[in-house]
Symmetry: C2
Amino acid sequence: MDKIRFLEPRADIVARREEIRTGLANVVPADCLVTDERELVPFETDAFTAYRRVPLAVVLPETTEQVAAVMKYCTDNGVPVVPRGAGTSLAGGAIPQEDAVVIGVSRMSCILEVDYENRTARVQAGVTNLRISDEVSADGFFYAPDPSSQLACTIGGNIGMNSGGAHCLKYGVTTNNLLGVTMVLQDGTVIELGGKALDAEGYDLLGLVCGSEGQLGIVTEATVRLIAKPEGARPVLFGFDSSEVAGACVADIIGAGIIPVAIEFMDKPAIDICEAFAHAGYPMDVEALLIVEVEGSEDEMDAMLSRIIAIARKHNVKRVRESQSAIEAAQIWKGRKSAFGATGRVADYICMDGTVPLGQLSHVLRETANIVEKYGLRVANVFHAGDGNMHPLILYNVNDPEEAEKAEAAGAEILKLCVDAGGCLTGEHGVGIEKRDLMLHQFTETDLNQQMAVRAAFDPGWLLNPSKVFPLDLDMRKAG
Amino acid sequence: MDKIRFLEPRADIVARREEIRTGLANVVPADCLVTDERELVPFETDAFTAYRRVPLAVVLPETTEQVAAVMKYCTDNGVPVVPRGAGTSLAGGAIPQEDAVVIGVSRMSCILEVDYENRTARVQAGVTNLRISDEVSADGFFYAPDPSSQLACTIGGNIGMNSGGAHCLKYGVTTNNLLGVTMVLQDGTVIELGGKALDAEGYDLLGLVCGSEGQLGIVTEATVRLIAKPEGARPVLFGFDSSEVAGACVADIIGAGIIPVAIEFMDKPAIDICEAFAHAGYPMDVEALLIVEVEGSEDEMDAMLSRIIAIARKHNVKRVRESQSAIEAAQIWKGRKSAFGATGRVADYICMDGTVPLGQLSHVLRETANIVEKYGLRVANVFHAGDGNMHPLILYNVNDPEEAEKAEAAGAEILKLCVDAGGCLTGEHGVGIEKRDLMLHQFTETDLNQQMAVRAAFDPGWLLNPSKVFPLDLDMRKAG
């Protein structure tokens, strides 16, 4: 897995390393600045791979003003900036480079305001995802997007990647739950986008910023929507004889207009791995499993479930099991949410993140199996089926260079398959460096030129999170 | 009402009028081109005001390729373009200028595909809003955003203005129901944004386009989400002794985490006008009325209503009346949806469109009354209260220039009040020319410069729907 090209650090920047570190020390307090080589180590990669690049410096500001001062300094001195939340990115979106300053928002971790009357919370960008729900849980509310990394990942990072999660089928992803941000532009200008009111006049710059992977500015504060907790929630397991049939069942549930709060999919390898880890009580005699969660009053859940079960019966469902208690429900979700970690205990893997129209689920599952078999590798599928957001985990041995190369090639083929089926390269993990060069399979060069023109309207110096998102050759042309 | 400044048509364009008309005739079929002065009349204004400007020519293309050909011609010749749906804009977004070519999408009215498995429909931009729901109604689906003009307005126009409607409280506005578009850029390039899959990689250009008032390109096709019709729906009337109390009740319903499908508000003047027109059976002994619609199974509706009624009782609700039949329900909605038309029969009016955080509803209603009283005018309030999207209708006599000027001044004060309360200038009608110069009350010049930089990334020649959205002085600087 050494195919990803990194840019050579710019010699002029590296030569001025000490001068830049001193310059930064002049604009932020000493305890916000990391320049010691050993202390820089925790910032040298993210959750994507083992690639490591030690940044020129790391700044951990505590205020928007400090972020603005650093951004202005970096722009004035032509220094690239890599924004960072908790570094849980799965696509290399937070990997630094040697000639860049990392601005990490982890210390900006205050919940600034909870406003139930307007159902909003205003938080600093370094607040972790789960902490918002924890803060308002006793009052009956929660923050909906729930990435598996929600214990660690920050709202700032969630905004950068437009993060999703298992329960986004009903509640939407980050962009659907974000009402406003404070953002620092490349030159240090601070702008406000959105607010507590729904909608806003003018262009939807807030939506544009969400999912822009830190290339348009650095978000320092966010206003998010709070949602009332449902009266009750009940996950139900549906076991099928094949992945294709399970996929067709998902399409039929959604096609009937039913929106459960989550429909998660696991194939046999994923069931085996997760059951061994979490003892969730998954049925072991099926080839594919759906976790369908419904919520509401007991009556509402019963009514929705009876319709879902009727559809599953048409697809010859083999096992149907409702959770009988809160503990059982928690175990079912523990199995699903620990899938990546549990897989990591039995094999190395790369996780794909393609999203497809639901009508194509069965086809893409079948072809994914064919592709992986062609390369002599194994795959485990565990994903957000209701959204069509697939996560094939391609299992391989990281110490076998040949196998690593095959895994990467299989992954690229699978993503192209998703695009050809009318889908796209990423549902929630972002493009980062991982899918950068595949963007030309999704978009024409005309499309990408338009996206780069929009970026240049925010980042004329092409300094923010460089060499991510866009194919490296196009990016280098822009960067001059 | 003659305060709005129009740009002088550019003499160089007007001088080349016949040459440009001939040039257009060379790139589109004769029956798509309107140049006869009498035939241009229907295109000289929109639903905003009586301002009239006859455009240089109107093109009514039937294909994306024809739109592209016209856009390329106009760019090559430096001719401004004004995109148009059905001309139902309430903010002057579709008013032409004498030196501009109008591209109207009304003839692009085919429903291209209905795909229940993916719950999507793909339509041409000229398809009317209600037609999508009509097309899929028998199969149990509908398209959610429901502007009052839904019988006439087009999806292309809805996308331009990010249109909402009474039922958007639960289902969101256009941007929440739009999955993809085909769009022609200023130079004739055709790009695809989004598709059938949820989410997409790269920047959210689809969200950016939605609500951009035709300044980033011309949308020719759209993929929209279909939603299953609920089992049942029931509007309930709640009458209160004052507008402030009704406003506080709305904030408490939403603050409790309850999301009905609609919460509509009418004050006494609006009740009187609508009841006289629609005979909806509204209670006449109250000062403010909420129409709260719940949907789902009978049990679900009962459960939600009992919670809502309990909250209303805390606010000393005076009348509670559930609709007892489908006919009664239809009458209740007919009264609300005809509010603008019914008001137009008793007085001239201008309709504001500010949106405020729900906690500010009571305050803004009270201050709105004070402002209008100060000018010696009357106001009727009828609006989407659950969204905080206010529509004060300022009543005046269009033939009395002094009153017209007062109405406009009162409107501007009300919109500033909304902004100062943490809200914004427009919820769903757009900025157009109406609120163009008020944008500086909402945004700093820095904010607007950033928005204009984004526009320039799509429209470097500053030719698309010129002198709309941005304050005229800033706009003219850009237009050079």
